[in-house]
Symmetry: C2
DNA sequence: TTTTCATAATGAGTTTAACTCATATATACA
DNA sequence: TGTATATATGAGTTAAACTCATTATGAAAA
C-alpha cells in the first residue's frame, strides 16, 4: 500500500519537476503540455490523470515553491532573538528570494490573474498565507516582548513590508542590480524602526512638550527682565 | 484627409471601448475576439486591421486608462502647494483609483506577465512611467523647497509608496472595505513624514539631549528667581 | 452618370494547443 | 496462470486566435 501511494506521489513530483523546468524556460503561455509530457517522459494524456489541467500544474509548481520558501525563511529567523534583527533577516531573505526566483513568483501571478473558475477550493494565493503569517507572528511576538508598540495595524504593516519589497525586487531586476539588495533593506528598516518602536507619536509629544516648557520659561524670564 | 484620419481614429476608439467592456466583464482569457467584434459591430477580421492581435488590444485599453489617470492625478495635486499635502493627495487618489479600477489594473498585469515577444517596442509598463513620474517630480520639488530631506533615495521611496498602496488596495478589495482607504493613507503618511523630513534616529537623539539640557538650564534659572 | 481604382471589410478557412476517450498495457490478487 | 482493476497511451475532438481570398465601398476620372 505504501509502495502504491509512494509511486503515485513520486510520479506527481516528477510532473511538477518537469513542469517547473519547462515553465521557467518558456513562461506559462509558451510552455506546452506536450513539452512537459516529454520532459517527464510520459504521454500527454497521462498528465491529466494527475492534474486537471495546465492551471492545476502551475498551481502545484508555485505551491511547492512557497512551501519550500516558508521553511527556509523560518530557519533564517531563528538565528536571532531580537525582534528588529528578525525582521531585518526576514526582509533580507524575502528580497533575495524574490530577485532569485522571480520567474516562479511570476507564475503565481499568471495563475492569480487568470481567473480560472476551476480554481474552486483555493484561489491560488493560499500558499502565500502561511508564508505571510511568519511576518504576523514576528510582529506579535515583538509586541508581547515590548520591543514593538502595541497600537500597530498589522494589515497595513504587512502591506507596507511585502509591497515595498516586491516593488524593490522588480526595480532591482529591471536594472539588474542584485548588489543593491542590502541598500534597500537598510532603508526599509530605517523607515520601519521609529514606527515600530512607537517613536513617531512619542517624538511629536516630546517636541510639543519642549515647546511648551520653553514658552513658559521664556515668559517667566521676560517678566523678570 | 482629416476626415479620413478622423474616421480611422474613431474606429480605433470604438474597438478600444468595446474591448474594455468585454475585458472588464470576462477578464482577459475568457474575453473572446468574436465578442469584441460583436460589441464593436465589426467583423472579427476587421479587428486585425487595427490591432495586430489580442495583446495589442489590451495594451491599448490599459494605455488609455493610465493616460486618463495621469491627467486626473495631476489635477488632484494642484489643489495644494504644500508638499506633504500633495503627497497625501496623490496617495489618496492612487489608492482610490486602484480600488475602483482594479480590473483594468489587472489587465495590465496579464499583459506584463504574458511575455509576448511581439511586445517589441514597449513592454507594456511604459504607460505607468509618466504616471510614476508625478511622484518623482513631487519629491524633487519638495526637496528644492526644503520641505523634504536631500539625502532621500527616490527609487526606494517610489517602491515604498506604490508597493504599499498596491498591496493595500488588494487587501481592501479582498475584504471589501473601501471605507478603510483613509485609514491606510493616514498610516502611510505617518510612516513617511519623519523619514521625508529627515528626522532620523540621530534627530531624535539630539531632541532628547536638547530637552535635558533645557530642563537643567530652566531649573537653574527658576532657582535663581 | 457611369467607370475605374484603391482602400477597407468580411467571414469561411487554417492553425495551434489544450483537453478527451476508446483502446492497450501493466499490476495485484485469487 | 487467469482475471479484474488500475494506469498509460496517443489519435481524435474542440475551441479560439489569427489569415486571406473575396467582396463591398466610396472617391476621383471619364
Amino acid at each position: 500500500m505504501s509502495t502504491k501511494r509512494a509511486k503515485l506521489e513520486q510520479r506527481e513530483k516528477r510532473i511538477v519537476v518537469a513542469a517547473r523546468s519547462v515553465f521557467l524556460k518558456h513562461g506559462f503561455n509558451k510552455a506546452k503540455m506536450s513539452q512537459i509530457a516529454d520532459t517527464a517522459e510520459l504521454a500527454e494524456g497521462t498528465l491529466y490523470l494527475y492534474y486537471k489541467n495546465k492551471n492545476a500544474i502551475v498551481k502545484a509548481v508555485v505551491a511547492d515553491h512557497w512551501q519550500h520558501i516558508t521553511g527556509e525563511a523560518d530557519r533564517a529567523l531563528s538565528a536571532s532573538e531580537n525582534s528588529f534583527e528578525q525582521l531585518q533577516a526576514l526582509a533580507e531573505y524575502h528580497l533575495t528570494m524574490m530577485v532569485k526566483h522571480w520567474r516562479v513568483i511570476e507564475l503565481g501571478y499568471v495563475l492569480y490573474y487568470s481567473h480560472s473558475d476551476d480554481a474552486g477550493e483555493n484561489s491560488g494565493v493560499d500558499f502565500k498565507r502561511t508564508y505571510a503569517a511568519l511576518f504576523d507572528r514576528l510582529i506579535e511576538r515583538g509586541q508581547d516582548k515590548g520591543t514593538f508598540a502595541k497600537d500597530l495595524s498589522l494589515p497595513f504593516l504587512r502591506d507596507l513590508f511585502y509591497g515595498t519589497l516586491e516593488y524593490a525586487a522588480r526595480t532591482l531586476i529591471l536594472h539588474n542590480k542584485p548588489e543593491d539588495i542590502e541598500v534597500n533593506i537598510v532603508q526599509l528598516m530605517n523607515v520601519l524602526r521609529p514606527h515600530l518602536s512607537g517613536e513617531t507619536t512619542a517624538q511629536a509629544d516630546t517636541d510639543t512638550a519642549v515647546l511648551k516648557r520653553l514658552e513658559r520659561a521664556v515668559r517667566k524670564l521676560e517678566r523678570l527682565r
